[in-house]
């Protein structure tokens, strides 16, 4: 099963490689990993999307918790949570009809065009991974120049929070 594991880690050099190293050393899957500092500059927030049986996920969370740099951890999948991913897509946009088509499509997906040239659009889109996949599919492969995805982030719904 797919799990979204959120972590608060010490914002120190090496913390990221300890975590990614743990996944490669023990043969765990990483679908995506995002990391950036929080409002507290000594802490980074990391979201890891991973897959595995219940036993493996249990091991992953325990092994992560064991790392000295990991301050706090939560498996979001155990509760109600919101998941989002951000994507930039650069597409070919030559000719009036094609440009209009891309506009329409982007409206449907609530995507925004953030850069324009005579021949290309750069589009920004946020949503679940499935939504981003659907947008790429709708755009047709031969129109796509470049795709940049952030990887997913997660946050708990309601009053619960992953804080110190």
């Amino acid at each position: 099963m797919r799990h979204i594991v959120s972590l608060l880690v010490e914002n120190e050099a090496g913390a990221l490689s300890r975590i990614s190293g743990l996944f490669s050393a023990r043969g765990y899957n990483i679908e995506s990993l995002t990391v950036a500092t929080t409002e507290d500059s000594t802490l980074s927030r990391m979201t890891i999307i991973t897959t595995g049986s219940d036993r493996i996920i249990e091991q992953i969370t325990k092994q992560l918790n064991k790392l000295v740099d990991v301050v706090k951890l939560q498996d979001m999948t155990e509760g109600n949570f919101i998941e989002r991913e951000m994507m930039f897509v650069k597409v070919k946009a030559d000719g009036e009809s094609k440009r209009a088509e891309i506009h329409r499509l982007s409206d449907i997906f609530r995507a925004r065009i953030i850069d324009v040239t005579d021949t290309t659009f750069c589009i920004e889109l946020t949503g679940s991974g499935d939504k981003l996949d659907a947008y790429i599919k709708a755009m047709h492969e031969n129109n796509i120049v470049e795709v940049v995805r952030s990887g997913s982030m997660g946050i708990l719904r309601g009053e619960k929070a992953l804080t110190l």
Partner: protein
């Protein structure tokens, strides 16, 4: 007090109570060595190879319970130390390894003797640090000792760039008495409800087994374990790492379990209905094939490391906590409980165990004209009255040592169980002897393993650590040969140690005493002679039967009740069957 980085390191070690520092100098640690030379409180032991430094510090730590401390230079100094660090990591041994690093400004430039020590050691340390700021040096060292020695212990590396240790830059130094780390909380207390459940399960058992490991020794819980097991009257088995926590000569101890454990311990594991595991981690050398592991048992698992619980074997009653704390709670609960043990069931269980014991699974040929390796270990036991510190290397001799030298005290049996590092024994013995100069220390080894760190014979002379090397010399890499005999139709591929050195002359060349024996009748006198020479390191080269095998054995994919047993045990089984004493 204003001190330079180098002086801070030395002063900190003093303040931390470190008496011995195992190391090897080099460019990146020259400043530190200069500070080291100006004091007498911390004794430095100059090894002959950095691997020797880490193993010696490791042996010291295992014997004393205090952290072992090493100092090595950058680059090859650090990489040579890696085997010893990984050895300590696998067996959860507290080690603090200080590695020199090229100056901060040169890091990343492929400077001379530069290696990313923090990167190289990351997968085999509990934690590691790169010191980037002199002002944080003392605090970082304190963190290193704190992390290494608390919770589930382990090695910690502190990488120190040369500029941090420069003699002319001085800052105020105060010993950090206490350290707090928000991301590291090693204190787990066993949950009272789980402890209660565990006790109910144990007291209701008809065929209970207690299976304990190195966590008892690391957690200083031997006393509590003894009380607990004796109070219950149940059989106990111990892992290779746990030997000595419960007395090896106590009748309740039914031998080591696992790949080369006793027949009775493994059979009892297979047949038990409640398994109480404490301070052990269901290692693959213990469990055999996991799908057939303890098929009838409810399993209670006590461990200080949550990640060890339900990792390979699912625990019905998981208890996260230190061994001593949990056992203390369980002893209290045992005193108060009104639950009664099923005496008749336990008596019947002991009878079944006795029947397994009567097959004598460690039996070996005592009439041979060749020295049997088992006999050599038994002789060592007699001569040292079972009270020596025994280190070992890795292979057949290690298993014979574990089987034939019963340990009655914890911290007496020192071997590389998890990583299985050949070359561990001699430097480890050296470390033990430094800690306990008045005790007998012997290294049971083989002609293969001893050559992996033999250079430390030189260190033994320099620091007057008169250890006894018991070399079970069968001119084969014995354990590999045994596997090739069993599983590769005796195709002995590259296991014959051709062109072996004359170990007697080699010992003499290093300034020690060498004795060789090749007849069973000479074994006793040679052993007595070796231990009589109190002040000398003695290399006892014992020429043993080349094709002796370690029995019983659980081979790959097999369960505890599917052991390969020795030809002698097979005969015994047949005769017991004929007499109708075996069902």
């Amino acid at each position: 007090m204003e001190l330079s980085g180098s002086e801070i390191i030395i002063q900190f070690l003093k303040d931390e109570g470190v008496k011995h520092l195992f190391g090897y100098p080099g460019g990146a640690v020259l400043h530190i060595y200069d500070a080291l030379q100006k004091q007498d409180d911390v004794m430095h032991i100059l090894v002959r190879h950095e691997q020797g430094a880490t193993h010696a510090a490791d042996g010291y730590a295992r014997a004393t319970g205090k952290p072992g401390v090493c100092l090595v230079t950058s680059g090859p100094g650090a990489t040579n130390a890696v085997t010893g660090i990984a050895t300590a990591y696998m067996d959860s041994i507290p080690l603090v390894v200080l590695t020199g690093q090229v100056p901060s400004h040169a890091i990343g430039s492929d400077a001379f003797q530069e290696v990313d020590a923090v990167g190289v050691t990351r997968p085999c340390v509990k934690h590691n640090f790169l010191v980037k700021d002199l002002n944080k040096l003392a605090e970082t060292l304190k963190k290193a000792f704190y992390v290494a020695t608390t919770g589930r212990p382990g090695p910690v590396v502190v990488d120190i760039p040369k500029d941090i240790t420069a003699p002319h830059i001085k800052i105020p130094y105060v010993y950090p008495e206490k350290i707090e780390m928000r991301s590291y909380n090693p204190n787990f207390k066993g949950h009272p409800r789980q402890i209660k459940r565990a006790l109910e399960l144990l007291l209701g058992a008809k065929r209970p087994m207690i299976y304990s490991g190195g966590g008892i020794i690391m957690g200083e819980a031997s006393e509590e374990l003894r009380k607990f097991v004796r109070k219950l009257g149940y059989p106990i088995t111990q892992t290779l790492m746990g030997l000595g926590a419960f007395p090896g000569t106590d009748p309740q101890f039914i031998g080591m379990l696992g790949m080369h454990g006793t027949y009775e311990a493994n059979m009892a594991m297979h047949e038990c209905d409640v398994l109480f595991c404490i301070g052990a981690r269901f290692d693959d050398r213990i469990t055999g094939v996991t799908s057939k592991f303890c098929p009838y048992a409810q399993i209670i698992h006590v461990d200080i490391d949550p990640a060890s619980i339900s990792k390979t074997i699912n625990a019905d009653v998981p208890i996260v906590g230190g061994a001593r704390q949990v056992l203390t709670e369980m002893l209290k609960a045992l005193d108060k409980t009104e639950l009664k043990i099923d005496k008749s069931a336990i008596d019947a269980w002991w009878k079944r165990i006795a029947a397994w014991q009567s097959q004598d699974s460690f039996a070996y040929d005592k009439t041979s004209e060749l020295i049997q390796p088992q006999a050599a270990v038994e002789e060592l036991y007699r001569v040292t009255k079972g009270d020596a510190y025994i280190t070992s290397d890795v292979g057949q001799h290690q298993m014979y040592a574990a089987q034939f030298y019963p340990f009655d005290k914890p911290r007496r049996w020192i071997n590389s169980g998890g990583l299985g590092t050949m070359g561990f024994g001699l430097p480890a013995a050296m470390g033990v002897k430094l800690a306990f100069p008045d005790k007998d220390v012997a290294c049971i080894t083989g002609e293969g393993s001893i050559q992996m760190c033999i250079q430390e014979l030189s260190t033994c002379l320099q620091y007057k650590t008169p250890v006894k090397i018991i070399n079970l010399n069968n001119r084969y890499l014995g354990m590999v040969r045994q596997w090739q005999e069993f599983f590769y139709e005796k195709r002995y591929s590259h296991v014959y140690m051709d062109s072996l050195p004359d170990f007697v002359k080699l010992a003499e060349a290093y300034g020690h005493v060498g004795i060789q024996v090749d007849k069973p009748a000479d074994l006793h006198d040679a052993m007595v002679e070796a231990f009589k020479l109190k002040d000398r390191t003695v290399f006892l080269d014992i020429i043993t039967d080349q094709e002796a095998n370690v029995y019983p054995m659980i081979s790959a994919g097999k369960a505890h009740n599917e052991m390969d047993i020795s030809p002698l045990q097979q005969l015994k089984q047949a005769s017991l069957k004929a007499k109708g004493e075996l069902v």
